[in-house]
């Protein structure tokens, strides 16, 4: 593997050297997050942060796949948008209780991800990326054309009952309360991923990513673990999509388009895929900057393109790599 790609995809093995600072910072950030609704932000900014949580989940899913399996998916919008669409479609076309819908949608997306993984794992590298793009885009086209069910380009509004999980639906649609819910889910997901990556399964999947043949020669099945990684990464993206649907109450085919998948990859890389929390950081930075930039320029897309190129070439470990190394340096100076 080339140096740059290694830096982008290598799981952080040096995390044990200065665990305390990073963990302390992580706990501080997580706790600070819970205080955000009371920090006096404007309603629109708070709403932005709430949306950013869903994007962060999408990016975390994509980044996890890169880190744990060395695969770059250009089709994760399928899980994100697919789950969102499923929530809305089920709410509109069936009489299922809201709780069942919200729980079922990401589960279906995950199972689909697992099933499709076996097909997709017949390819690797760039072919995998292109296949993921095609499969996701096929879903996009399906939703665009199936006007009877999904209303095509105009999109569809969610029709959930007023009560959900013992509280009112509006709790999920107000920035303050929804931010807390989304942030909680994001934090829990990252914690679970961290535990997973330190487990035997985590070690095995890194081994398979490094050297699939050798993993087989020491006695392991390699297909199922890889499919599971794809499924987990899809599940995380699907969670983001569910939150998106709940919060916005509306879906349009744009959330299935490959450009969203591309955006997710860019966010994950800018944030840094070496760590599990990098993509989430990237998401918040991206979403906030995009909003700010909108006031100054119409060329956000060019900026993104330039930043992507810069990060890939000059800063392959992304923002999270920068943060980690800076912390290490500060820690060493104070100790």
């Amino acid at each position: 593997m080339s140096d740059t790609l290694t830096k982008i995809t290598t799981a952080q093995t040096r995390s044990d050297r200065s665990p305390n600072v990073l963990i302390l910072l992580a706990i501080a950030v997580a706790l600070a997050g819970f205080a955000v609704p009371w920090m006096g932000f404007s309603r629109s900014f708070l709403s932005l942060l709430t949306s950013a949580c869903a994007t962060a989940l999408l990016a975390t899913g994509v980044g996890f796949l890169v880190r744990q399996a060395g695969l770059t998916s250009f089709g994760h919008a399928a899980y994100f948008g697919g789950s969102a669409y499923l929530v809305v479609l089920l709410s509109v076309h069936t009489g299922m209780p809201g709780e069942a819908i919200v729980i079922l949608a990401p589960i279906v997306a995950t199972v689909a991800a697992f099933g499709i993984a076996f097909v997709m794992l017949r390819t690797e590298g760039v072919a995998f990326s292109m296949l993921s793009l095609a499969v996701a885009q096929a879903l996009y086209e399906l939703m665009m054309r199936w006007r009877d069910i999904a209303n095509g380009e105009d999109g569809l509004a969610m029709q959930l009952p007023r009560e959900l999980f013992g509280t009112t639906l509006s709790v999920f649609q107000r920035p303050g309360s929804m931010f807390l819910i989304s942030w909680t889910i994001l934090v829990v997901v990252i914690i679970l991923l961290t535990l997973l990556s330190r487990s035997n399964f985590g070690t095995l999947t890194i081994a398979i990513k490094n050297n699939e043949e050798r993993a087989r020669f020491i006695g392991y099945r390699t297909l199922i673990p890889r499919a599971l990684v794809i499924a987990i990464s899809g599940a995380i993206a699907a969670l983001g999509g569910t939150l998106f649907a709940l919060y916005n109450g509306y879906v349009t085919p744009g959330i299935l388009h490959w450009s969203l998948s591309g955006e997710a990859i860019i966010i994950a890389i800018i944030g840094g895929t070496r760590s599990l929390w990098g993509p989430a950081v990237g998401a918040f930075v991206f979403v906030i900057l995009r909003d700010v930039a909108g006031d100054y320029t119409t060329h956000w897309q060019s900026i993104v393109g330039l930043v992507l190129i810069t990060v890939v070439l000059l800063l392959p470990e992304g923002l999270s790599g920068l943060i980690s190394r800076s912390l290490e340096r500060i820690w060493r100076k104070t100790v």
């Binding site: 593997m1 290694t6 290598t10 799981a11 093995t13 035997n200 070690t203 095995l204 890194i206 081994a207 990513k209 490094n210 050297n211 043949e213 050798r214 993993a215 087989r216 020669f217 020491i218 006695g219 392991y220 099945r221 390699t222």
Partner: protein, 237 residues
């Protein structure tokens, strides 16, 4: 040499298109024996190794390991049955720490003797470093450790001394010999390095152009005129 036959291979054959790389090779190794598989370049040694371990396609032949027919098993299943191998080109896991990867291999095998293997191969001092950050010689030993850990029934080593300095090769040979004596391992070792072969092997099988030329104890094979002829030009004698 007495003892049960641990590995019995008959009719090992492999074609690459029209070219026959291995032709009807028979091999029989007893428990506790260290068998060297030698031959000039192109003799079919690596192919033999691949056929035995199930690496690749179009492999023919019957392979019996400790009484079990493993001919139809995949590489993964063969490892579970007790056949472990190391590789000519270093084939380890760059991101995992050395202890982590050896433990990973141990988990799939019979017993977890990770610490024992790490210390016997002098890897305990670097056990917490990732595979990509250790020297080539260390990586070769990690490759060996991955195969050795878990007490496999048969150990197939593909040029373990490749790329090592003379000193490193001899050290490795010493490791092998002592490990084998201590655990009475059954080993099949493919090697070019004759120093290693002679310091370690109980018996030799000589391959030439895909077929077995002769077999026997090292000294006898060394002075066999046919073998000398086949090896003309090499640093054999």
């Amino acid at each position: 040499m007495t003892g049960t036959i641990m590995l019995e291979a008959t009719g090992l054959t492999r074609h690459f298109g029209g070219f026959c790389a291995l032709n009807n090779v028979n091999l029989s190794v007893r428990k506790g024996e260290i068998r060297g598989l030698i031959g000039s370049n192109g003799a079919g040694k690596s192919t033999c190794m691949d056929v035995l371990t199930g690496r690749g396609r179009n492999l023919q032949g019957k392979i019996v390991l400790d009484g079990h027919d493993i001919s139809k098993l995949s590489e993964r299943e063969r490892r579970r049955a007790g056949m472990a191998r190391s590789f000519q080109k270093t084939n380890i896991f760059p991101e995992l720490k050395i202890r982590e990867q050896v433990m990973l291999a141990a988990r799939m095998a019979e017993t977890d003797n990770t610490d024992e293997i790490l210390s016997e191969l002098s890897l305990d001092t670097i056990a917490d470093q990732p595979g990509s950050e250790v020297s080539y010689g260390d990586q070769r030993r990690v490759d060996l450790a991955l195969a050795l850990v878990g007490k496999p029934k048969v150990l197939l080593l593909d040029e373990p001394a490749a790329g090592l300095t003379i000193e490193e090769s001899l050290t490795m040979a010493r490791h092998l010999k002592s490990l084998s004596d201590r655990h009475s391992l059954t080993v099949l070792i493919v090697e070019h390095d004759m120093e290693v072969i002679f310091s370690v092997c109980d018996n030799l099988t000589v391959l030439h152009l895909g077929e077995v030329l002769t077999e026997g104890q090292p000294e006898a094979v060394r002075s066999d005129p046919e073998v000398v002829r086949a090896y003309l030009g090499s640093t054999f004698a």
